[in-house]
Amino acid sequence: LEEASLLHFMGLNKVPSPRTTQPVPSILMKIFQERQKAAATGHYQKLCYVKEFGVPGNLIRLFQDQGALSHPMEVAQAPPCTQKFHFFNLSVITQDEQLMMAKLDLRLGLNAYNALQQDLEVMVSVVQGPAPQPDQKLVLHYLPWSQRVLHVDLLDVVKEWNSNPQSNLGLVLELLPKGNNDSTMTIYPEGTCDNWRQFIQASLMVVTLTHQECPRFPHFPRKRR
């Protein structure tokens, strides 16, 4: 109990015991080390701006993809498997935080494409209905052969999810042959679906601003009277 109350200042209600831990991206370690250096040399300044991302903010979170836990249906999907579901639990974002950035980072592993000759298009869509087929295509990205990492701006989507948590049903990532939106055309990555999917890693980088720490920054847009 004491430990929990001691952690309260970190916004935690119990000692975290994450089952799986994602690797720490170098950008976060870089930001951390720069801040430590600034604090050690006495150049402590109110950290309400993340210059590495170019946005105001004092709290940076990298959300772990919980898609595999929340979309067992994709396990049933037989090859060709060209879809992967992603889900991010945003419930830890508190009401007094203002969303300043939300960026989806997709890392597409090499192995999934070895046997595929054609260039691929990656489609990231918001799951909107109970059915697994997404209604809205967010981003149609053409994935050149050499590109392995995609960044997708999801700020508007995450704001919607944060203000209306029921609407957060996750995302679907689909691979299609280039220039062919007909998803009946199939691509057969090597091996089984799980083999293909494990080489697609997603995480969501979110920056928020808490006005308690950073009163100077623009407040929430006030509701017009």
């Binding site: 970190m10 975290p16 950290l47 979170r61 830890v92």
Partner: protein, 114 residues
Amino acid sequence: ATLSTMESTSKHLCQRHQMVINFEDLGWHKWIIAPKEFRTNYCKGDCPFSLMSFFNSSNYAFLQTLMNSRTPEVPKAACVPTKLSSISMLYYDSYGNIILQHHEGMVVDECGCG
């Protein structure tokens, strides 16, 4: 007021004492990514009235210690942090999300009678 004959020797006077917070010692190393430890101080020592002016003490500490010399029920001023600074921390939460946040008031830089 007469000063107590047993004036505190200097080592018992209020001052900061170095401390290293090591998260492994606290058993938090599994979820705190960085820093692994950090240096801070704790405040300990006596606040006798005679030397109050040497400390960066607050006015109420003077008055409270003065009152202590008349009515012992009123405790002397305490040896407390008078300057704090913050550190950034990188850690996992229970969902496995990684958080980078600045926490105020984590490091004690100076102590005084307050």
